[in-house]
Amino acid sequence: MSTTTTEIARFAFVRPDDVAGAVAAGAAAGQGGRFWAGGTDLMLEWQRKQRSIETSIDITRLSELRGIDVGPSEIRIGALTTLAEIERAAAVHPDLETLAAIAAVMCTPQTRTLATVAGNLCNASPAADLAPVLMVLGARITTLTAEGGRELELEDLFAAPKQSVLADGELLTHITIPLGGRRAVRYGRIARTVVDIALTLSACALTLDDQGRIITARIAFGSVAPTPLRAPSGEQLLVGKTLAELTPELLAEAATAAAGDANPIDDIRTSAAYRRHAIRVLTQRALTEAVAQLSVGGDQ
């Protein structure tokens, strides 16, 4: 491990070679420590003096935390997998197609080479684009500290705008997506241009059991609440239904109920009223597309 502190530097820089070294460095650094991944959020916060950092711990050399593995019952995404890698992951597993499509419209090509999936989640922005789709995929995250590890639902990661529940020195190591059933994952995103932060994003996932009934329905939103948000009110109307029972009227009702869970604000990008309207429309479209996808694949 190399350590650098120069006179003019305002933080110390450490570069551990492995995960054990990283959590040890995290424990040693305590409150002033920051894991530094792609830095695409951190560099701006540092330069704008929005965050004080005493030690930055470069985790980009932890190659064991990089890449996507598909197992029989789950997909495992390493924390340091970059958006550029996720963008190219549609071929890895069909359930990742939507995640890949969203990654492809985030940031810019040359920032996607740097930006990581864990950075997007741990930064805990209400607009973190990967969060809603990973939430509807039922993602869980695994973290590690010098004391040991824990696993939690992704939706429990977000505490407040730009604040996760992770403790100082707690490293997100990977994200796990459970497999099983026939799943359709769809999303709608509205942004000023493809590379701009989203005004709103809605993602949904519907899973069918062997009897052709919806066994899980998940809806989640970006940029309509203080954190990425699961919208359970719409989901409850869909579980247990057959595809034939998922009429346009029912999907509209579910989208309206889901939108009721949103709690948007006015900001520089758009108004709360627009967000509330858009999230309902995007959800209805995403649900309609998901049902259409499951109907087409019906006789497989």
Partner: protein, 156 residues
Amino acid sequence: MITVLVNGREQAFEPAADASLAYMLREEAGLIGVRVSCGEGECGACTVLVDERPVTSCLMLAHQAAGRKVTTIEGFGSPENLHPIQQAFIEEQGFQCGFCTPGFIIAAAAFLEENPSPTEEETSIAMSGNICRCGAYPYIVRAVMTAAERLRGASV
């Protein structure tokens, strides 16, 4: 101290812990073809290749480049022997003031490496991480399309 393979030459640097790669390349290596405009990842003027992949060097810590291979516009062609993408930008007038050009050329190089036969639409999407304040976009897209054709010819 760190060593970085810059444009094919092993070089030693002593950047501040919080210095960006762009700052180190400009101020310590004198590679002023690395342009810094927004300094926030939006404009792509500072695009360089790190291990052959394009990155906004204003967002990367200089120390993160330790032991890696960095290519700036200075590592592309020489005035006597221009890289085919540089040649195509001149012929198609893919610039006006030229400030954004190094970033565009490097983004184009990385893109054409992955997609040697792009459509115009794919090209504009791939160039979406670069901003041209002079608005030379149609000429830039044409330059990249011309370069793609040349590079395909060269590799046959």
